[in-house]
Symmetry: C2
Subunit: 343 residues, 2 copies
DNA sequence: CCGCTCGGTGACAACGTTGTCCAGGGCCTA
DNA sequence: TAGGCCCTGGACAACGTTGTCACCGAGCGG
């Protein structure tokens, strides 16, 4: 039979609205709104009737409509690289906790280290009108965010600085950490030290390499081209790089691994070898204590927390100039970094 | 200078709207909508003018309004325990990928294993009108979701079944996995085997204990009360439980650890001990290969993927009866589970 | 040459909520 | 008892978008 409704059924599966609740409770629409929002000016008796109607109908306020009216979503967005990476999980969780403390919900998405996907995600979050945005950049040009920032979406970058725009950024001292780690190896007698890092497009990779070079230069040591390898963290690539450095007449006696993904693969590659090779890795790893892996630890949770706090400070009206906040790293000696050179 | 605006400025930081774009392009509102949504029926010339206006103003469609009108948010929610846990990170990521393939955004939140927080989160997501919900239950009573499900929010549970409502659930074969793991220890000669698991409120903990008991019974072995410990995965608690089982005249010679958190702590506790103790852990762990930890591996990503696929099948209209999907586990021998009893 | 179709376009209502304003009734005071 | 005030409750518009429908002019067949 003819469906005569002028507008097709696009109501949320026939969810009750405040209007329905009002009708059932025999009160006005606005009174329901008042009860739902805990506003003053409602008789206890009226309130009870409304509550009962809400209960009976299973009413739940539609936040989309609320957002549309109020202009604030009480949610923030986080664009990161990969939620499955043990470095980003804790970071995200820390952001979530801060958001929760401010009554906001966190929406996060993985860019998979793809600049286009980063942009797509960030803009999708802006379209949802998140109040603020935290971004771990995959790309190097963030001018696409300018209209959003101008429109009032607070934005903070973490782990890596923004490209071509001026914005808050919270990062670890990659340069200093790497420099200290490599200096540690040098202090234990190494002269030929390899560096395996992430893609040169990534800021932290470049900074850590810079730290490596600085430490070598500090000690007056030369750096052979064959000792340095930047590229993807794909295990095959890293294994190959490791093997290459350890081959030939003058192999490296120690390796500095540029991040947690690299460290894991290098450890696996070194394990079966006879000749011991010293190793210091950037990023701490679970169970590294038992495996005796010396690392430069950065605090992922602190990064997230700091960035989120800065974001909410902005959301609460602060308009300081964009700042660069750098967190210290810690060298944790556990054995692998204290192996003397063997050759 | 009385601010005479009747309605205060609650527009999103003065973001341009379709109306603004229309005015600038000299066209009607609906035409802008058509261009933005790529609908047919717009002259190339008109489209160009609109695109230019969009560009110039930095317009971005307001998804809240869109959602309000369309009734679909193209987003799904995921309530999990803790994003920082290496088990849930990959699970969440897998869900995200499936969502992305369906053009949906994923919003996830951590319940911190607190039933109240689980409910608060799930309902908050429903208030945002996510199209579907995936829940890793912390609580044991999910009747609070009934109105939501009735209202059309597709819901799938993962890792643990729903409490007191009938709904889809995707889980690993905890019972079978634990049984196989304990049988493996028995096959290597162990007779006194300890079990350390998560809180008895948690379904997987109970199932794995059941598997442990079944394996012991299969072999006709008694189970001493002192060999079984269920409780939080807090390291101190687990260390204590481990120490207790290893003390006394008849200590256990092997331990079955109920999940990844427990395994990590037990490994740390066993490492410094002289007398070797066999160990099999539920859940695989990064670097467990190097440490030679035998595990019952479950595929977190597959859990998430399967649940998400089921969810989207429902969103696309499937109305099969709620099903229980169980994924197999795999025993990966790496050494720690093959240590013979020492006594 | 008229009427009809058809493609492009815009006016308008509606989605569900909240802010503003007004009405009515009860109560207190003069 | 009249006047005024406060307190509760409701009518209405607006948030920014999309679906529906109507309009207009061009092209075409009769």
């Amino acid at each position: 039979m003819a469906e005569t409704a002028r507008h097709p059924a696009h109501r949320y599966g026939n969810r009750p609205t405040m209007k329905d609740v009002a009708a059932r409770a025999g009160v006005g629409l606005k009174t329901v709104s008042r009860v739902v929002n805990g506003e003053a000016g409602v008789t206890p008796d009226t309130e009870r009737r409304v509550q009962e109607a809400i209960e009976a109908l299973g009413f739940r306020r539609n936040d989309s409509a609320r957002v549309l009216r109020k202009g604030r979503t009480a949610s923030i967005g986080l664009v990161l690289e990969d939620l499955a990476d043990p470095f980003y999980g804790p970071l995200s969780r820390a952001v979530e906790e801060v958001a929760r403390a401010h009554g906001a919900l966190l929406i996060n998405g993985s860019s998979a280290e793809d600049p286009d996907r980063e942009q797509e995600l960030a803009l999708a979050l802006c379209a949802r009108r998140v109040d603020g945005l935290i971004v771990i950049p995959a790309g190097t040009d963030h001018r696409y965010l300018e209209p959003e920032i101008r429109a009032g979406i607070a934005t903070v970058f973490v782990d890596r600085p923004a490209g071509r725009i001026d914005a808050d950024v919270v990062l670890s001292d990659s340069f200093g950490g790497a420099r200290a780690g490599v200096a540690h190896l040098i202090a234990h007698g190494h002269r030929r030290i390899g560096f395996i890092g992430d893609q040169p497009r990534i800021h932290t990779a470049v900074e850590r390499l810079r730290g490596y070079r600085a430490a070598m230069e500090d000690a007056g040591l030369p750096v052979d081209d064959g000792w340095v390898s930047l590229g993807s963290t794909d295990p095959a690539r890293v294994r190959e790089a490791t093997a290459a450095m350890l081959a030939g007449p003058e192999p490296v006696t120690a390796i500095f691994a540029g991040n947690n993904r690299v460290t894991v693969t290098v450890v696996r590659e070194l394990a079966p070898r006879e000749r011991p090779v010293a190793l210091v890795g950037f990023d701490d790893i679970e169970l590294a204590d038992l495996l005796g892996i010396t690392v430069i630890a950065q605090d992922a949770a602190a990064l997230g927390r700091t960035a989120a706090e800065r974001l909410f400070r902005r959301l609460n009206g602060s308009d300081d100039a964009p700042a660069r906040i750098e967190l210290k790293t810690v060298l944790i000696p556990r054995g692998s970094g204290e192996i003397p050179p063997s050759s």
